[in-house]
């Protein structure tokens, strides 16, 4: 299948989906609407709502807040994950002592922490950042830890035979290996940063996409809920595309799964 056919088929799926939604919510079939607009709204209203948000400019503030929260959660969580990952991988004893607690915290559904963070950090952005950090941290941490543990013993022996000291091993062997593992989980960790931000907003905030959706739900404004979801989805796709671009640049040395040797 070539690119244009694929794109055409992908658009076709969207068109059919929207058409079905529109028909089932607008035109009675056998005397009744299969999807009552009260619960399902309809594409026209949702589109109007989205256009209204963008034309009046209300949405920018909320997008900005969510973006800031996601970025902060990602950056802080990543730095923490890299640091602790390195530390544990190089200090097996420390890692062994903390192991059950790390597993315990990681097993905890992070949503239950949200009210506590709100209590500690208030309704502003920092309680959402904290929630995102708890999600991002563990992904980065596990990957960095694994990246250091999985350095090929031959590559390591070679590095030592070439005369590398401990600091040079860090820089030329452990660090690149850890980074490559971390970058390979970039999509997941960025995604989780957004999840943390939105869920946090949903549970109580003065602004953000999660807040917008929660407000609409509060007044049974289904069109608003759907519009919020669409904006959120578009937001995530844009971020994911950016991550792909960054990933391509940083992991240029790695073979692609489908790539054959030239």
């Amino acid at each position: 299948m070539n690119r244009s056919t694929l794109l055409a088929l992908q658009i076709l799926v969207a068109v059919i989906g929207l058409a079905l939604w529109h028909v089932l919510t607008t035109y009675p079939i056998f005397g009744r609407l299969l999807l009552p607009p009260f619960f399902f709204s309809n594409p026209v209203e949702v589109a109007q709502q989205v256009v209204k948000w963008f034309s009046t400019g209300v949405i920018w503030k909320h997008l900005w807040v969510t973006l800031v929260e996601s970025v902060l959660a990602f950056v802080i969580g990543s730095i923490g994950g890299v640091f602790v990952g390195f530390w544990f991988a190089r200090q097996p004893r420390t890692a062994a002592v903390f192991d059950p607690y790390v597993k315990m915290i990681n097993a905890l559904p992070r949503v239950v922490l949200a009210p506590i963070f709100t209590l500690w950090l208030g309704l502003g952005i920092w309680s959402k950042v904290a929630l995102g950090v708890t999600l991002v941290f563990f992904i980065v941490f596990f990957n960095v830890y694994q990246g250091i543990k999985e350095v090929s013993p031959t590559v390591l022996a070679n590095a030592r035979m070439l005369g590398m000291n401990e600091r040079q091993l860090m820089r030329h062997v452990y660090w690149p290996s850890a980074l490559s593992w971390m970058f390979s989980s970039l999509h997941t960790s960025v995604g989780f940063a957004v999840v943390g931000a939105v869920v946090g907003e949903y549970l109580g905030a003065p602004a953000g996409l999660g807040y917008l959706i929660q407000q609409a739900e509060g007044v049974f404004d289904v069109a608003g809920v759907f519009a919020g979801m669409f904006v959120l989805a578009a937001f995530v796709i844009v971020i994911d595309t950016l991550v792909t671009v960054v990933e391509r640049r940083l992991l240029i040395w790695r073979p692609l799964a489908s790539e054959s040797r030239p």
């Binding site: 090929s152 031959t154 590559v155 070679n158 590398m164 030329h172 062997v173 040797r261």
Partner: protein
């Protein structure tokens, strides 16, 4: 050794080396027993033995990567207690840094020794040209073929100008033609300054064709050195042609008659490995 016995100390000198590995189940495995081996300066020595006989273990002792349980290893007369940084080690498995280009992989040895990056890269380019990869400097290892990766590995090791070269079945994973080409390349590079070489292989033909001396090890466990032959072939040699030489064939026959039994023993122990 008394100074007058040889004004120069041996490049590598192993005396009564035992190697014992601790097994996961708490037991002990004696890999090598009472191995004594000297490699003189400028000498090319090959170790041949059945699979799993501990030839690579002996090489790792000379590299300082593992410590002997008994006996001693010394390099140019000095006892070896840590890594042998006078040696360059060419590994059997891929040992290049996958996140560095061919150019950076070769330059790294000089860079970590404190050479300015620009200068190290210029030297690296020279070496890549010398091993026939001048046009591939910007490729990452996964973009190179197995033979090309070995060439980069060779350049990576030789650019540091080590006094000793340790090679662990370096051409093992390559196909027969590439092995011959690599063998000739190695002899070519070696003849420039004749470093001491310890070359491990399971291929007797390759061993005779390349080296000045061939050392045979018995099948493990507790492998011993059971034979030592001088190779009376003139240099420079061409690996493909020398195999037709009469003295090559005679020597091969002589060594093989002894090695054969050990190979059979080795197969019996590893279940036909």
């Amino acid at each position: 050794m008394a100074p007058e016995a040889g004004n120069k100390a041996q490049a590598i000198s192993l005396k009564g080396v035992d190697v014992v590995f601790r097994l996961a189940d708490g037991g002990r495995y004696r890999a090598v027993e009472k191995a004594t081996l000297d490699v003189a300066d400028s000498e090319f020595v090959a170790i041949v033995g059945p699979t799993g006989c501990g030839k690579s273990t002996l090489l790792n002792i000379a590299a300082g990567l593992i410590q002997p349980a008994a006996g001693s290893a010394s390099i140019y007369g000095a006892p070896l207690s840590d890594l042998n940084l006078q040696a360059g080690y060419l590994f059997q498995a891929d040992a290049l840094f996958p996140w560095k280009t061919a150019l950076d992989n070769v330059a790294i040895g000089l860079e970590i020794a404190g050479m300015a990056p620009a200068q190290a890269k210029a030297k690296s380019r020279e070496w890549l040209t010398r091993v026939g990869l001048g046009a591939f400097a910007d490729r990452y290892p996964h973009m190179l073929s197995g033979g090309q990766r070995k060439r980069v590995g060779l350049a990576q090791v030789l650019i540091r100008d080590p006094k000793i070269l340790l090679m662990d079945e370096p051409f093992g994973p390559l196909d027969a033609q590439t092995r011959q080409i690599m063998g000739n390349l190695l002899l070519d590079l070696w003849s420039a300054d004749r470093k001491a070489v310890l070359f491990v292989t399971h291929d007797l033909e390759e061993a005779i064709a390349l080296s000045d001396r061939v050392v045979i090890m018995s099948a493990g466990p507790a492998a011993r050195i059971i034979g030592d032959w001088k190779v009376p072939l003139a240099r420079p040699r061409d690996i493909a042609e020398i195999k037709l030489d009469r003295s090559f064939v005679e020597l091969h026959h002589e060594i093989w008659s002894k090695l054969k039994d050990e190979v059979m023993k080795g197969y019996a122990q590893t279940g036909g490995g």
